[in-house]
Structures are given as structure tokens and as C-alpha cells.
Symmetry: C2
DNA sequence: AAGTGGTCTAGACCACCGC
DNA sequence: CGGTGGTCTAGACCACTTC
């Protein structure tokens, strides 16, 4: 399949089964012994695959008991890709989304550069306003690499967002986040229904899958209605200076 | 020594040698074969230790060449605690810091709550403006838990920042970041030498060590002169959404 | 007692690099 | 060519949980 390494293939295989829903969160997956028999590999190889998936948090292992698919973890904001729809509903509020644009375009220099394509290449462009109880909380301006999600334009984005579709469809490898504080343009201020001098938080994200840029999205939030957060464990010894 | 696992002991040993400066960045460390002979372990065990340290970024390995101590890594923004002084100097610019306050105070409700103390408890309060080539780039307003860093007030913060001191002194376990976009107060705008309508990025951070909150700090950056970024690998594709 | 994961060993083959 | 790291195997012992 992918990379020659056998443990890597085992990891990919297990990830795929979980991603496809064949193994749900909480499900107990076969033991190392069973996987050894099933796959015809040595136990060290299978063990390494499972250990690394557990380190990543995809699996939970307990000696003497078994290996289980982990529950989705509560992480927020800067370290994951949030579903603004789910967040809104989790607060018990009404979620709304106005799709303002959904079309194929030719990549400008900026977009081509961000998606690692050539100027003029065909890209998908999607714009929408997310609302919480009717109040705009995010203006999302997204470009999608057609090679990564060819059916993007054919989706019904009435209830599910652009992000949710991509996350569910493309197995992401890597994420880049950049955060800025800006004043909205006149057009942005109007769409967000805020005064033009309202400070806004801009989260710019790029995602990768298999070395290819999947999407490039700029999310503008009124600073007064949104914030980003994260909490994480410190990995290593402080290199931090 | 520490944890029973041999590969863990090897990791700790190598980390220690690097931390003590015995092996400097760029130094080539002994090969797996040599470490096997020196430590009397199997190659798999030594290999695992080296592989994990390389994954963590402490070592750089190249097949056919050797294993080297990594250079301090350029990571930025949301996933680590930055040294604004080091960043500034790395850009070849002059770094400056004006300490505006450094004193013991009684915790207000907000501060006590953030530090998990009681109102009125004694806390350290430190404020400074960071400058790049003389231009203010960050206003830092920090509270420190005396229990975590009792000698904080006695430090000479002429060249080293508050953050650098804490990071070097207290072994951090956990970090919380929250990002907002705000308009600065009149006083903040003056200290940052920006117009009062300049959108600003606020990074609020709390850190923990051994279950105790070490510090609570609010860093205000003019949005026009600063941004935060991070790039990270995705753990489990499935959960997002 | 049987099954689980955690670790460790002593070999092995390979691709790659530098000489 | 010899040295390096990357991987893999087929065993092994252990601590632990569950029955």
C-alpha cells in the first residue's frame, strides 16, 4: 500500500478500519496474538503499530485486558479542527449557515501558492457565514484542492459544513494554524454585522493529506463573540528558552 | 534508575548528557553499535530509545551517516512557550524590555481564581513591555504563584524575561492558551505606542507544574506587528467533526 | 490458569552513505 | 567496501487482569 514498512501498513489498516466506522469508539480490537495470526507478522511488528497508535491517542491499551478504540477526546480550538455547528448546538443554541458562494474558480497567485498549485489551476471556492442564534459568529472563506476532494461541489451543505465534510472524507495528516488580529474590511463587517472597527480574530488553516494540501481556509470571527483555546501537556524537556 | 524500562533509562541518560551540555547541538553521538557495546543491551532496545528521541526532535538521525544532537527547534506560537527575546534576536533585531512593575500583591478575585488560590493570598505581579528595535511588540502582564517560584522577585530581569526564568526554573507539565482579539485600553495603547483602534491579539496563558498553577499571564500584541502560528500532525482524523 | 500487553534479546536483511 | 540506521523475526520473561 503506502510506505514499505510493515508496521506502517498495520497502522494504516487499523486507522482505516476505525475511520470507516468498522470499529467504533469503545470497541475492543483483536489482541496482538490474534493480529499476528491474522496478518502473518511477528508480534514485535504488530506491537509497534499498536503502541504508536496508542501513543497518538487513537487506541487505549491495558495490559491484561485488551486494546480499545479511544473515545473522541475533548480538545479545543488551536489544536484541532472544531466543528462550529457541533459547538454551537452543544451550547444549546441554534446553528445556522448561509452559503454565499460554492463554485469552481481559477486559482489566483495567493491561492495557488497556498494550495501548492499553479496559478490558473482549477480550485473550488466556498464562502459561508455561520450563525449562533441568528447572530453571525464566523465568516468562512475556503479554497479546496479538487485533487483531494473531487466531489466537493456536489455536496449538500445545508446542514453539514464544509469543514465537517472534508474532515469526514479526507484522512488528514497535518494541520497548520495561523492566528491574526485584524480590522474587518467593510464587506466583512457587513456580513458579520459588526461595526468596522471591531477587532476580529482570523484563523487561517491549511491541511495536508498524503503530502498534498487539501484546503486553505480563512475564518474571521468578531473578537467580541469568539475566542480560541487549547490546553496540552508539555512533551519534552525544555528546549524552550 | 528511574522507570524500570531499559529503553527509558537509555533515553533519560542521553537526555541528561545533552541537557548537561556534554553533547552540544550538532554533536555526533555514538552509533547504535557502540551504545550496544557500551551499555550491554540489545540493539533493538538502544534503537527504540534513539528512535523515540528522534521523533521528539531531540536527535536527528540519518541512515548511513549517524545520529546527531538536534539544533533547538524553530516551533512557534500556539504549541510552545516562545521566548520573545530569542525570537527577536534570531531575526537579527535588537531586543529590549522595560520592566514596569515587579512586586508582591494581594490576589484579586480574578487572579486568585486563575491561580487557584484564595482572594487576598500573596502573589507576585510583573509587568513589562517587550521591544523589537525599540518598537513595542508585546505588553506582558503576569501573576506568579509564590509557592511555585518563591525566588521570582529576586531575579535580575534585565536581560532574561519572566517567562524564560520560569521555564528554566520550574519543570512544566501542562499549558493552557486562550487567544482573543480585542481593542486595547487607552493605557495599553499608549504603552504599545499604537492607535487605540488597532486590533490586538491577546494570548492568555496558564501553566501547571505538579498540579499547581505556576503562572497566569496576559500578553497583548498589536495585530499589525505579531501573529501566532503552529503546525502539527493530526492524531486521529476521525474525531474532528 | 489463561490471556493480555510491556519489554527484551540475538540474530538477520536491507538501503543508504562515504571512502 | 564497511559503517550507519530502518526494519523484521521468533522466540522469551514479566506483571497484570479476568475467570
Amino acid at each position: 500500500m503506502a510506505s514499505g514498512a510493515l508496521y506502517q501498513q498495520v497502522k494504516d489498516d487499523i486507522r482505516r478500519r476505525i475511520h470507516e466506522g468498522q470499529w467504533q469508539p469503545g470497541h475492543r480490537i483483536p489482541s496482538e496474538h490474534e493480529l499476528v495470526a491474522e496478518l502473518g507478522l511477528s508480534r514485535m511488528t504488530v506491537h509497534r503499530a499498536l503502541r504508536e497508535l496508542a501513543e497518538q491517542g487513537l487506541l487505549v491499551r491495558q495490559a491484561g485486558v485488551g486494546t480499545f478504540v479511544a473515545e473522541p477526546r475533548p480538545q479545543s480550538g488551536l489544536l484541532r479542527i472544531n466543528s462550529i455547528a457541533a459547538e454551537t448546538r452543544a451550547r444549546g443554541h441554534e446553528y445556522g449557515c448561509d452559503v454565499l458562494r460554492l463554485a469552481r474558480e481559477s486559482a489566483t497567485l495567493e491561492v495557488a501558492s497556498a494550495l501548492d498549485l499553479d496559478t490558473g489551476d482549477s480550485v473550488f471556492h466556498a464562502v459561508c457565514v455561520h450563525r449562533e442564534n441568528g447572530v453571525p459568529v464566523q465568516l468562512e472563506d475556503r479554497y479546496v484542492n479538487p485533487a483531494a476532494a473531487p466531489d466537493f461541489l456536489d455536496q449538500d451543505f445545508g446542514r453539514t459544513g464544509f469543514s465537517e465534510y472534508l474532515v469526514a472524507t479526507v484522512p488528514l495528516d497535518e494541520v497548520e494554524h495561523v492566528v491574526d488580529a485584524v480590522q474587518p474590511t467593510a464587506g466583512e463587517a457587513e456580513l458579520l454585522a459588526v461595526r468596522p472597527d471591531t477587532p476580529c480574530l482570523v484563523l487561517t488553516r491549511r491541511t495536508w493529506a498524503g503530502g498534498v494540501v487539501v484546503t486553505f481556509v480563512r475564518c474571521i470571527h468578531p473578537g467580541t463573540r469568539y475566542r480560541l483555546g487549547s490546553r496540552f501537556r508539555v512533551n519534552g524537556p525544555q528546549w524552550f528558552g
